[in-house]
């Protein structure tokens, strides 16, 4: 039982990390916390549903839905956020809130308010034996997928030219701009990648939780808690805290089901009392 709870927790933690890492690279790069991020995550779930009803192929939707979400995110960045950048963070922050409200309304308009079930693809159905336990294959697949994306992200960040530019821009944006690199284009790309990560998480979680308009609030809040506890802009912080939070929530539901949601926020409060900028955060 402990093992299966632990795998549950890991799967959820990895999904939280996918969302949180997207949030973090956008924050590290642009200095703005994208409050619409959870809405992009939810939007991807709906895209997945749409592709699935049209083609019936889960793998195709796993490929297309995050790309669609990233495309949508790029449009949002290009049309709205870029113009706001000169006016300071408050405007950007509230702008993303406005965008999340519009996405929520749009989702309700196009897909209705009831929750849409998404079946687990046939090849991932069934149970596997892990440590002598029967365990649903799909959750293991989610962990594997997240690890794959994580490795991909590390490779892009540390082994490619784009990653080099991104890391440089995180530490000194103006200098990189002065060196003749098109910073707005890099911002747009990074925003797109962040939304793509949220999109992957959205598709991965859709068969577990189904897709409904409250999804953004439910999972998004957990992701924001992870980001704040880990320290804004810190990827390793997000990774560690996401796993802790995932485990806390799954074991919390097992042992103190009434107070499970409080556990996560309580943990966050505890961390913030000792370190106001998060576990791995640095003071601005």
């Amino acid at each position: 039982m402990y093992v299966s709870q632990a795998i549950h927790g890991l799967a959820y933690g990895m999904i939280l990390f996918l969302i949180a890492s997207g949030l973090n690279i956008i924050f590290g790069m642009m200095g703005v916390l994208n409050l619409a991020h959870a809405s992009f995550f939810m939007l991807s779930g709906y895209f997945c549903y749409q592709v699935l009803t049209m083609t019936g192929n889960f793998w195709l939707s796993l490929l297309l839905a995050p790309i669609g979400t990233a495309f949508f995110g790029i449009i949002v960045e290009r049309v709205f956020l870029r113009r706001m950048h000169a006016f300071g963070h408050l405007g950007e922050l509230m702008l993303t809130v406005g965008i999340s409200l519009v996405i929520l309304a749009g989702v309700k308009f196009f897909w209705g308010t009831e929750s849409l079930p998404i079946p687990v693809p046939e090849s991932l159905q069934g149970l596997v034996r892990v440590f002598g336990l029967e365990y649903p294959l799909y959750r293991l697949f989610v962990i594997g997928l997240s690890l794959l994306v994580l490795i991909l992200m590390i490779l892009v960040l540390y082994k490619t030219r784009l990653g080099m530019i991104v890391r440089a821009a995180v530490s000194d944006r103006d200098m990189v701009n002065a060196l003749g690199i098109n910073i707005p284009l890099v911002f747009m790309t990074v925003f797109g990648i962040g939304c793509w990560l949220a999109g992957v998480a959205g598709v991965a979680i859709a068969p577990i939780l189904t897709v409904f308009p409250g999804l953004a609030d439910q999972v998004g809040m957990d992701a924001f808690v992870v980001v704040v506890t880990g320290g804004l802009g810190s990827l390793s912080g997000a990774f560690i805290v996401a796993l802790i939070m995932g485990l806390l929530s799954s074991f919390g539901i097992q042992f103190v089901s009434q107070l499970a949601p409080v556990l996560m926020v309580g943990f966050m409060a505890l961390v913030l009392i000792i370190r106001p900028h998060g576990l791995f955060g640095v003071e601005e």
Binding site: F27, M84, M94, L95, V102, V228, L232, P276, G281
Partner: protein, 329 residues
């Protein structure tokens, strides 16, 4: 100059007459709407003490609104024969104590972290209110608690329960005083320090003022007035629930109102609340997509009118003065 003063007093008299006579001209529906407007105007004003005057954006201001509502409701339910003002006082004390507990943490963080910490604390309070069922009543909240009469030093005595008209005057009294106190607060030397903290915290520090302590005092004061609003809101509905008072949407109401009205202007949140409420009232009649309208309005205001309605008014005033000056030449 004297002429101007006379005009000012005249305008105040007209405003007072309008507010006192409002229930005579409009029906009960609009009286209740106006009470809601007043409650959220005061709540937004208290929020603007943090955002507009001190530069602290909170995503969880509803915790003070909510805890005060719960405090008042619990006091009225469990303490026999408690007077109205003591019950409100207990609720507001709850908000103040919560603020005092939180302020050692929150004065150390700024910017996005401050906002997110409050989002999380707000969520914590919301979940606690839902889960601690034997105290807060869970999803149902605390409803139908007794409401004592509103008496002022034995001069007037108005029964409030199931009497929206009397409640209107009571709310006008309490919330009017709160508004005046907040206005007064921004005019005191201490209120000027908060503007200094917003614009240049380091400089205020060099001038010898204690920045974190000042922030803490403002934070507690803001919580106090949010508490007054929350308490009156609970009494108004005779119901305090997690969804009505502690939800993150309640916090966002204040943020939206402040943004639409104009950050940094004292009266901005009042304009904003009025505009927001009228907008919502119209929207509900035509479409169920309230979120869409709120979101679109928010995006438009931020992109094209970053100083909100108060900024627009200031611009008009400036134009008018320029016109006058030209004519005078």
């Amino acid at each position: 100059m004297r002429e101007k003063k006379v005009i000012k007093i005249f305008l105040w008299v007209i405003l007072a007459a309008f507010l006192l006579g409002y229930p005579k001209f409009f029906g009960m529906y609009y009286v209740n709407l106006f009470v809601t407007f007043m409650v959220f105007a005061v709540f937004s004003l208290s929020f603007n003490m943090l955002l507009g005057f001190t530069g602290l954006l909170s995503f969880g201001h509803a915790i003070f609104f909510g805890i005060s509502g719960y405090g008042t409701a619990l006091a009225l339910r469990h303490i026999e024969g408690i007077s109205l003002f003591s019950a409100i006082g207990i609720g507001v004390m709850g908000a103040v104590i919560l603020a005092i507990i939180l302020c050692p943490v929150v004065v150390r963080v700024t910017g996005t972290a401050f906002a997110m910490v409050h989002l999380a604390f707000g969520q914590l309070m919301y979940v606690l209110a839902l889960k601690l069922r034997n105290i807060t009543g869970g999803e149902d909240g605390i409803g139908n608690f007794p409401i004592p009469d509103f008496s002022l030093f034995g001069l007037v005595s108005l029964p409030l329960k199931n009497n929206p008209l009397n409640f209107y005057y009571f709310a006008l009294f309490i919330l009017g005083i709160s508004t005046w106190l907040m206005w007064f607060f921004t005019k005191t030397p201490f209120g000027q320090i908060q503007i200094g903290i917003r614009d240049n915290a380091k400089r205020i520090d060099y001038l010898g003022f204690k920045v974190p302590q000042s922030k803490a005092v403002i934070y507690v004061a803001s919580a106090l007035f949010a508490g007054v609003a929350g308490s009156v809101y609970g009494l108004f509905h005779n119901l305090v629930s997690a969804d009505g008072s502690l939800n993150v949407l309640v916090s966002f109401t204040a943020i939206t109102a402040t943004l639409i009205g104009g950050i940094g202007s004292f009266f901005g949140p009042i304009w904003g609340t009025a505009i927001f409420q009228i907008l919502e009232e119209i929207t509900i009649r035509f479409t169920e997509q309230v979120e869409l309208v709120t979101g679109v309005v928010m995006i438009l205001v931020i992109m094209y009118a970053p100083r909100g309605f108060a900024g627009f008014l200031a611009l008009l005033k400036m134009r008018w003065q320029m016109l006058q000056a030209k004519r005078g030449q």
